[in-house]
Amino acid sequence: MYAFDYTRPASVADAVAALRSAEDGKLLAGGMTLLATMKQRLAQPSHLIDLRAVPGLSGIARDGATLTIGATTTHAAVADSGEVRAAIPALAHLASQIGDAQVRNCGTIGGSVANDDPTADYPAAVLGLGATVVTDRRRIAADDYFQGLFETALEEDEVITAVSFPVPARAGYAKFPNPASRYAVVGVFVAAVGGAVRVAVTGAGQSGVFRVAAMEQALAASFTPEAIADIAVPAGGLNGDIHASAEYRAHLVGVMARRAVAAAIG
């Protein structure tokens, strides 16, 4: 790891100020991606701004049809939360599939959503549920938030404070994990929410998480695995690597989508 300076602000405003004043500051939440990247000397931030002393960033609250999860809430907290399990069991299930137990004890939803790794799990839920990313200054709809590989609508000095999920009528998540890294080779989140059906795919796309309109239409007509059995996702635009070619990923999108639907109606 290269050397850096470390600060631990006590408020979101102080964190924003620290980001603005640093030459190349990075927010540190759970650190599961950032520290791993820095250990490989693939990133060299000048400052790490640790959010863990900022009050009010962690926690889970349900308000009617909305479930709001604070940015520094860990994956383990989401997976184990009775509130989440009751409102959106698919989201608790997704959180329980991230990394391993120790990653889940440290990694946070805000960190995952801010980083927007194309093989991370949370982007599938955020996009698949049509969630809202809440920052220190605005609310960003999921459809506007994800903008490509590690690219989001966040400003350089913007801090995610929470993610708000609409409680769906039903939802499911199915993941084909990379057998080595345990990231998603393909993860598909399906939800019937707000009178519509959304299908979001992580792990597979060259430009990060994406929706599958053809599946959404078919599932809106009939929310069953059979309804999407013949819908193929083209391999063009999908990732290919030693773990899975684009063709195989395309195939897995179909399989995982059907399994996600089955889980949702299960």
Binding site: A3, A36, K39, L48, D50, G99, A101, Q102, C106
Partner: protein, 162 residues
């Protein structure tokens, strides 16, 4: 830049001046001489470095010492009783030959203790799934899984096990 980090490690208050880039595992191994916590990889996957921070298992190779400032840390050295009596998880690993070279063992034991904390009666499948973050190259996991299941039984019924 130098930071002062203070925390409780195995029940003792400690304080050290470190560079911000000092990882918790390096604080433990190099500054505190607690070499029971091991480093087996550099991508946060092998789990040889697992310790407890405020009661939860974490990979100490992917946590800055600064992030543990003010926390209570337990390492493998702090798991057995003060008189040297093994924790039920340690005893079960010994009794079931759940270790061979011993290198992954501290992390494996610390991870398994956290499993039983969150799930006192795990199935074999749940044990295997939980341990995906701990790599062992010696045992094929067979006896580790046996040990964790036995320890969970013991820990559920501490009186009956005497």
């Amino acid at each position: 830049m130098t930071l002062t980090v203070s925390m409780t490690v195995n029940g003792k208050a400690v304080s050290r001046d470190v560079e911000p880039r000092t990882l918790l595992v390096h604080l433990l191994r190099e500054h505190l001489g607690l070499t029971g916590t091991h480093v087996g990889c550099d991508t946060s996957q092998c789990g040889a470095c697992v310790v407890h921070v405020d009661g939860r298992s974490v990979k100490s190779c992917t946590m800055l010492a600064a992030q543990a400032d003010g926390a209570s840390v337990t390492t493998i050295e702090g798991l057995a009783a003060a008189d040297g009596t093994l924790h039920p998880m340690q005893e079960a690993f010994r009794n079931n030959h759940g270790l061979q070279c011993g290198f992954c063992t501290p992390g494996m034991v610390m991870s398994a203790v956290d499993l039983v904390r969150t799930n006192p009666d795990p199935s074999e499948h749940e044990v295997r799934t939980w341990l995906e973050g701990n790599i062992c190259r010696c045992t094929g996991y067979h006896n580790i899984v046996k040990a964790v299941l036995e320890a969970a039984r013991t820990m559920r019924q501490p009186a009956a096990a005497e």
